[in-house]
Symmetry: none
Subunit: 234 residues, 4 copies
Amino acid sequence: MSVNDDGFTSPVPAHLAVSSTAERPCPAAAGSQKEADSARARNRLVTHARLKASATELFAARGLRNVTTHDIARGAGVAAGTFYLHFKDKRVLLREIVLEALADLRTEMDLAARGCSGVDATRKHVESVVTFAERRGEVVRILFSHENEWEELQTHVLNTLADYCESVLRTQQTEGLIGSDVAPAIAAQAITGLQARVIDWWTKDPSRATRDAVIETLYKLQLTGVYGPAVTAE
Amino acid sequence: MSVNDDGFTSPVPAHLAVSSTAERPCPAAAGSQKEADSARARNRLVTHARLKASATELFAARGLRNVTTHDIARGAGVAAGTFYLHFKDKRVLLREIVLEALADLRTEMDLAARGCSGVDATRKHVESVVTFAERRGEVVRILFSHENEWEELQTHVLNTLADYCESVLRTQQTEGLIGSDVAPAIAAQAITGLQARVIDWWTKDPSRATRDAVIETLYKLQLTGVYGPAVTAE
Amino acid sequence: MSVNDDGFTSPVPAHLAVSSTAERPCPAAAGSQKEADSARARNRLVTHARLKASATELFAARGLRNVTTHDIARGAGVAAGTFYLHFKDKRVLLREIVLEALADLRTEMDLAARGCSGVDATRKHVESVVTFAERRGEVVRILFSHENEWEELQTHVLNTLADYCESVLRTQQTEGLIGSDVAPAIAAQAITGLQARVIDWWTKDPSRATRDAVIETLYKLQLTGVYGPAVTAE
Amino acid sequence: MSVNDDGFTSPVPAHLAVSSTAERPCPAAAGSQKEADSARARNRLVTHARLKASATELFAARGLRNVTTHDIARGAGVAAGTFYLHFKDKRVLLREIVLEALADLRTEMDLAARGCSGVDATRKHVESVVTFAERRGEVVRILFSHENEWEELQTHVLNTLADYCESVLRTQQTEGLIGSDVAPAIAAQAITGLQARVIDWWTKDPSRATRDAVIETLYKLQLTGVYGPAVTAE
DNA sequence: GATGAATGAGATTTCATTCAT
DNA sequence: AATGAATGAAATCTCATTCAT
């Protein structure tokens, strides 16, 4: 049984759901306009993507509150008002960026650990987190920065990761790999915090440690913490 | 030699230093007015303290950016302008609150671990952090929340704690308690993140776990992580 | 050679330069939108002009410091924030008004004295200053009022006029019309002050003297002082 | 007959009158306290004078609007509230400074021209103005700077000087020294502006011209203009 | 859809003035 | 009289959001 199956039982809360803006049915879709329409639709997606990319870059660099919708629009090369044709407001945009990144991370962790179990799955998870951080440093900065106004979102991110972690822990506890003296809920928070902090610290300045050192340390700390004597696993 | 002695050699950077409130030199304290002066001075301190208390409460509840200087003044029961008689601006106030809390926490950790070493010191540290969180939940929320604009401050807090942690780890490594395969710098970040996350999570809703469960889990995770097999230490 | 050619070699200092309103490059003027764009551009200029007119009126009546940006916006019939879409702040607006007026005055003086020289040019200059004051009393009030905060600007105005005057004096001295005992630099300041004061005084209440009396007196005083026998000089 | 007799027929308007603040009768003047009282009264005058000196210096340096009552008090070495024990508000203080300076200038001009008449009186007047500017540059800067909020006061200063000038002109016209084509009211404004401007310009940077050059130029221009025959008038 | 000028609520900050001690 | 903390009105400036073209 893969822990992945349990990991995401926590659905996105209604108020955080990403409602795609591009749903409105095209009002006048006269036959001969199909091509024009699809061209238009493509343009729309391009603009949408550019806005999101611009926002990601700016949020990562300056923080959420120090970026204006005008900044984002300028960064995307569109007019100020265009922003609101794609996103209801700044929060929605952030939500979209964060939830997308979170889903990506989860997918990558799932894929990495596919077919593994126990200690091996944990190692794969650590590796995939580090890989994700290397490839998408900007988005990681956003994911793990908490600005209070968006605490709801921040909490959702950490809780999603912690829930996943907790499910893994419970499974392993059931299997007798972890002692019954470990409280999965608390331990899950601890491991999430541990990873988030190290990843944030390392992402800010990757020269601080080699990729391998980060992986090894995360793995060892995590494993030997819950498995006790088994550090010798190595 | 106690590691505690080394732990806080990292002085507060100049730009974060809390300048004492009594900056302005008292121009002339004529003889017969001493009482009046001291009464005024006392009142001033009271107002200062009330502003700080008001700000602490509000910052913890709503975050820095969602609290106006007027809110703080209102919470303290003084006029809007009074704020600026005591603090140059919001940042300065936050800085004062945070650095004060950080110093308090450090002091408590030092006192708690006095005379202990090795595993015992670690346990005392964990206990004092949890105790601090129980008594001063509000300030802990501020300490462990990061808003990007104050990243500098946030970084200072975490680094101060991580530096402390790192010095403990290095000492124990020297003493052979920890294997040489542990990178103290990374591990220190990890442990700091682990503690900060759990404390933040628990402080938000203390009913989530008992005090003892939190202490035990933090202790166990931390210890068995670095000590490997020695979890049996207990 | 006309002295007018020399008179305004003093360029506007960089920090006082009026940056053209059309700074922001128009990003992309798609073909079919030209009309819409130009309509918007026209509206923008109208708003800009209304703000400037409103400010001119208010500054003349109440002085720079007693006029708020809100007053100016209200006077122009736009919202408060609109002010800042057109001018970085009040100073920039004042600068624009003053430098524009100064340029206009200079142009009118140049045109009036075109083809004249010596005494005739002086007379034309006096006439054009008086005419300018009659037509644009408000702006003249601003031009010749000095508020210390804007001393830089005030100094620029008077020095520009004085420089012009000085160049005229030097030319006439070269031509032997003026004795060598006259120090052009000092005399230029004197004549500038003389004209500014009379114009300001008269503009405040034009019923104080007829236009002709003002012109005659300015002309006579400048040329031959109060004792001068020969107003008949001409 | 001295023109001085006519010069100050314009009394200070009621709203500009300096009402001494130190008028309140001493409530409890028990016999044996005379000395204490007089010592106190002396102290009061000292404080009053220091406030005025502080204000004069600051106004001259930074302009009226850029000086706060706190600045003035600090400059005088007293507490903020003390300011209001001596002056009803900032305006009153400025008024006191300006009217005092104006009275001083007038007195010096009177004394200088005592016994002189005609051209000689004019020369003496010019000399005394320049001397005043040399000795009391600060106050002159205040006297001749116009900030719109205090236009009333500024107008009073210039009109006082212009009135004086006008009376001189009328006298000389009566005596046949000046032609009937000169309008005394306008000419008086012109001469006042001329002097004020040159004095202001020179005071800002006395190295711009020697004292004698300033006097000679002011004198010559006033008497015979720039074209005037030779200053042979003397 | 895109544009970008306009909107207006709201936050920060200053400072003349008062008043309890 | 002097003190200096407190007051609170007022000004500047920003920016999320709307809307006519």
